[in-house]
C-alpha cells in the first residue's frame, strides 16, 4: 500500500511533534506510485560511498537496500533518480524499534530468568528462551499491526533533497 504524502506542517510550530528525517532515492515509478530506496546503510553513516561500490549479493549493501524499498504516493511528481527527504514522527520511531526489538527481548529474558529460577539448568533455560523469543515476536507482530492501523509506520514525503544533502541529517 503506497504511503501518503505529508500534509503541510509548520516546522516552527512547537506544538507539532518533531520529525526524524531520512534520505531515499526514487528507483522506479509505476503509475501513481513511486518506489524509494533508503540511502542510509552503515552504522558509521557512510551512505554516499557505499552506494557506489556496485557489489550485489546476499548480505551486501545493495541487496540490503533492495529489500527495504518502499512505496510512496507520487503526488509530488517524482522521477527516477531523484533524492527525497522522508520523515516520521520521532515517537513513531521509538515505538517501532521498541515493538520490533524491545518487546521480544524483554519476553525472552523474563522467561529465561523464570526458567533458570525454577529448573536451574542451562539446557532448559536455553530452550525456554528460544520459545519465549517466538512468543515475543508474535506479540511484536500484533503490536506492529496496531501501529500500522494507526498509520504510525508510514514515512511521509517532506521535500526534495538538495544536492549536498547527505544521510547524516543533524
Amino acid at each position: 500500500m503506497p504511503i501518503d504524502v505529508a500534509s503541510p506542517e509548520d516546522p516552527t510550530d512547537p506544538l507539532q511533534p518533531a520529525l526524524v528525517e531520512g534520505l531515499a532515492r526514487v528507483v522506479a515509478v509505476e503509475g501513481g506510485v513511486a518506489w524509494l530506496e533508503p540511502e542510509q546503510t552503515t552504522s558509521c553513516g557512510a551512505c554516499a560511498s557505499s552506494g557506489l561500490c556496485g557489489s550485489k549479493g546476499i548480505g551486501t549493501s545493495e541487496s540490503w537496500l533492495e529489500r527495504r524499498r518502499f512505496p510512496l504516493t507520487n503526488a509530488p511528481g517524482l522521477v527516477v533518480g531523484e533524492r527525497v527527504v522522508v520523515g516520521v514522527h520521532e515517537r513513531a520511531l521509538l515505538k517501532a524499534s521498541g515493538t520490533a526489538y524491545g518487546f521480544p527481548l524483554v519476553v525472552m529474558l523474563g522467561a529465561g530468568a523464570v526458567a533458570q529460577w525454577i529448573a536451574g539448568s542451562d539446557g532448559i533455560t536455553m530452550a525456554t528462551m528460544v520459545v519465549a523469543l517466538g512468543v515475543g515476536l508474535v506479540g511484536a507482530r500484533l503490536g506492529a499491526r496496531w501501529l500500522g492501523a494507526r498509520g504510525q509506520l508510514a514515512p511521509r514525503f517532506l521535500r526534495r533533497a538538495s544536492a549536498g544533502e547527505t544521510c547524516r541529517i543533524d
Binding site: S43, V88, L94, M126, I169
Partner: protein, 193 residues
Amino acid sequence: MQEYILLMVGAALVNNVILARFLGLCSFMGVTTRIDTAIGMGLATTFVITVSSMANWGVEHYLLVPYGLGYLRTVTFILVIAGAVQFTEMTVRKVSPPLFQMLGIYLPLITTNCAVLGVALLLVEGKMTFIAATLFAFASSLGYSLVMVIFAGLRERLALAEVPRLFAGPPIGFIVASLLALAFLGFSGISTS
C-alpha cells in the same frame, strides 16, 4: 542473585563497551546526532548482541570446546553473528513489512558493529554459565545504549552551542566523548566485594 546484579552493573557501567573497552566507536560517532535514532540503534544492537551471544555460547560449549576447535573461534563467531543479524532482519520482515521498511530508513545496518563480536569473545574469556553469559551480554548492550543516548543528548545541545570554528563538528564531539569517558571512569571505584 547478588552475583548477577554485580555482573550486570560491572558490564554496563564499570567496563562499559564504548568508554572502557573502546568497541562500537563507529556507531558511537555515526548514529548519535539525534536521541531518537540513538535509542532505536541501541535497541536494535541490544537485541542482536543478546541473541548472538546466546548462540555463540551454545556454539562454544557444544561445538568448539568438545571438538578442540578453539582456533576457529573468531571466524565461527563472525559467522554466527552474521547469521543472527540476517535472522533478525528476516524475522522483522516477516513479522511486519511496514515496520521493516520504516526501521530500514532510519536505523543503519549493524552487522559491522565490532561491539557484537567483542562481547561474544569476552563471554568466552569469562567462562560463564548460560544465564550469566546472557545477562552479561544484555547488560553490556544496555551500557552501550546508555552511552549512545547520553552522547546523542550532548550532541543535540552542542548543535545549538557556539563552538569555535576550528573545533566545530567531529573535533568537539571527540572532546565531549573524552570527557564522558572520564566521567564513566568514576564507576571503576565501585567495589564489588
